[in-house]
Symmetry: C2
Subunit: 438 residues, 2 copies
């Protein structure tokens, strides 16, 4: 197996026994990037020497018995997340050449765990919908999705085993679905956003891409740390340990309020999956309060994006991509009454969701409308993700389905608030049970 | 001493030794009300038989060894707080004859502690600024302040030893100042608002009026209880115990951004007080971020009031007092961007305030612009209170100053977030040191 195809877990095991060095691993990833970057365009900044020097430092730490839990593992960082040693341009001309003074908290945590901050991955402009240069590694005519386009594509194309993205609508799980990788949008407030360009304090979630659920857990264990600099973090102590699954999890298949926006091959594939799992899966619909879920997410997002990006808009509207400017403009007329009404309606949905989970371990639901669209001018539809983001419950996309053209399609699995560790166990169970895409 | 003039603490001590019954106490308060209500107008609902039957039940509990910490103590309840056995009309024609199904959480807690729910105290319409019938008990030509008009006047006029009010701008501490009583607006999220008519989830604080700091503490100990039905409560476990003051508290006199709205006699009186306390008091001004404090509070309040009261406005604008309708209308054009900007600016003030408290136990600052105005068509200016409400820090008004006409003027004391018990100790220390109004 090519070294660049190793999971982080497997690479760590080899480094632990001395069969692999961090330099070898990082060099293998750099070689893969050199081969493939022209076709994929996952990176907006990459300095091979900087990456290799971090790898050498990691190898030295291992020799010194100082190896952290991600020692020597290369990680891609979405370019809305600040790095002190690499530019952070938020995917926008307005931030061209921007060099932050300091690392985002999550980057600090990765460095403390020994990770190699490999480079900066392409984001749509300010993590909204104006695409960057990235193409889908499985078909360069197709979008990789967004906004975490480069992060998902880099992991899907074996350029790095791990990458960090973020989700406000569907910016983690849609690209995870399109690129055939695992994506975790953890419980709201479990990973610090300090040092990340904001869209919405109510909705922004950093997340993790990897090619195995175990690698997601490895990174989550490092990143889920309370940070006073992010005022919206809850008292989450960390990923925690989930009890091993002694029996099959009890799953509920939910089509959800976005179902009609799905494509026929996706709908068929996930219905087949649910049916194929037999007694483990029951079917249900969400309570009526969720009828307003898509509108509510849109209102909260528009109403807060305008606050977060308004200063850029005021300063230089013409410098923004028209897609970005349009999105900000949709927020200009949102009133505080509309915003708060939507916020409190979302709370009613959260209360109702607690009832839905009664007797159930996890919800199965689509992660995206279908295969990645053959359209590089947009990043696809986030309708299957936004309302789950609004719920704040942990959600993952698993690369379990195949579309009409053989492209990956994700399955979204949602667990109750705070049950991220359990969610990752269920991901493993499901992947073993039904087999991954490919 | 008239029984109706006893503090709750003194009445409880007498009931404990058998020198007083709850029936005697409640009857004495009813007699005082019968004497004075025509002049003061503190009550919107009062059923003497209902009050006496609760008193008899309290006496029975005491005989049975079941007396709670407020057993037999009559408490007035602001009429925006639901009571299942008494109407709750929110001071509005639109709610005339309204009978809630159940008690507000705080009423339940009072009943569990043995209190007699004496009756419903006059509120301005929906706790905004349209006055009810209440007059200042110290001068019937003057306003009692608002919005907790009846609660403060009832305590100030010896009709009850304790009453519950609420503050979104200055609705507790302004009437406390005008009526010569102690008022506590506790730390945000320490007393449940479930069952209370909302104005702003970000700003609404239930509070306590009494004639001694010890009585305030007695009620606070009962009411500070976490309630899942109020989603904005923090993990506050209760009032807690403050360490006894082994030395004089370190105080800081702050004029604050509303100073210029103060009247000359108030300004002189509080400056004299601060000077008279000597070395215990240093002077300082708040950091520049507080320059926007009054505007910020106004924006958050207008932006959320329109959400809370919008449905009444939509249904029957003409049924509202024009003062109420006007206030709601000020919120109609608030955008989510303006609202969120103000909210996040308030957070920056909260951060800065933590620095202000460095080496300081409490802030001394005005509680109101001066004596209660001779104007029954309005309830006075809340500028000295609103920005402290926005901070969420615990604040009390102490009846320590006297105005040009001999009317009471309060001193506001503010402690760091969560230090409510310490605040009440400092109130006692200050009252002992300088002597109360009268």
């Amino acid at each position: 197996m090519d070294i660049c195809r190793l999971s982080a877990e497997a690479a760590l095991a080899r480094m632990e026994t001395g069969d692999l060095t961090a330099r070898d691993l990082v060099q293998a990833c750099l070689d893969r990037i050199a081969d493939r970057e022209d076709a994929v365009g996952a990176w907006t900044f990459l300095d091979p020497d900087l990456a290799l020097s971090q790898a050498d430092a990691a190898d030295q730490r291992r020799r010194d018995g100082q190896a952290g839990p991600l020692n020597g593992i290369p990680v891609g960082i979405k370019d809305i997340i600040d790095t002190a040693d690499q530019p952070t341009e938020n995917g926008s001309r307005l931030c061209a050449g921007r060099r932050p003074d300091r690392d985002a908290t999550l980057v600090t945590l990765l460095r403390e765990a020994g990770a190699v901050i490999m480079g900066k991955c392409v984001t749509t402009e300010f993590a909204l919908s104006a695409p960057g240069k990235t193409r889908n590694p499985h078909d360069p005519a197709r979008t990789p999705g967004g906004s975490s386009s480069g992060s998902a594509a880099a992991v899907g194309d074996f350029m790095v085993p791990l990458a960090i993205g973020s989700q406000t609508g569907g910016s983690m799980l849609r690209p995870a679905s399109f690129n055939g990788v695992y994506g975790l949008k953890p419980t709201f407030g479990t990973i610090s956003r300090a040092g990340m360009s904001p869209l919405s304090r109510r909705l922004d979630h950093p997340g993790i891409f990897a090619r195995t659920p175990e690698d997601v857990a490895l990174a989550a264990r490092v990143l889920m740390r309370r940070d006073p600099a992010d005022k919206d973090m809850r008292g989450h102590a960390g990923l925690g340990e989930a009890d091993p699954l002694t029996a099959a999890p009890r799953l509920m298949f939910v089509r959800g309020p976005a179902w009609d926006r799905g494509e026929a091959d996706m709908q068929r594939a996930i219905e087949d999956l649910a049916r194929g799992l037999g007694d483990v899966v029951q079917e249900a619909e969400l309570p009526p309060v969720f009828d307003a879920a898509l509108a509510c997410h849109g209102m909260v997002m528009n109403g807060s994006v305008v606050q977060a990006l308004g200063p850029y808009y005021d300063r230089d509207r013409a410098g923004l991509d028209p897609i970005t400017a349009d999105r900000i403009e949709r927020g200009l007329t949102v009133t505080s009454r509309e915003y708060l009404d939507a916020l409190y309606q979302a709370e009613a949905m959260q209360d109702a969701l607690a009832g839905v989970f009664d007797g159930i371990d996890a919800i199965l639901t689509p992660a995206a409308p279908g295969q990645a669209p053959r359209d590089l001018s947009r990043t696809g539809d986030a309708s299957f993700n936004g309302y789950w983001t609004l719920m704040g419950a942990p959600a993952a996309s698993l690369p379990l389905l195949k579309g009409a053209d053989g492209m990956p399609i994700g399955v979204q699995v949602v667990c109750p608030w705070g049950e991220d560790a359990k969610l990752l166990r269920i991901c493993r169970w499901l992947s073993d049970k039904v087999g991954e895409w490919r």
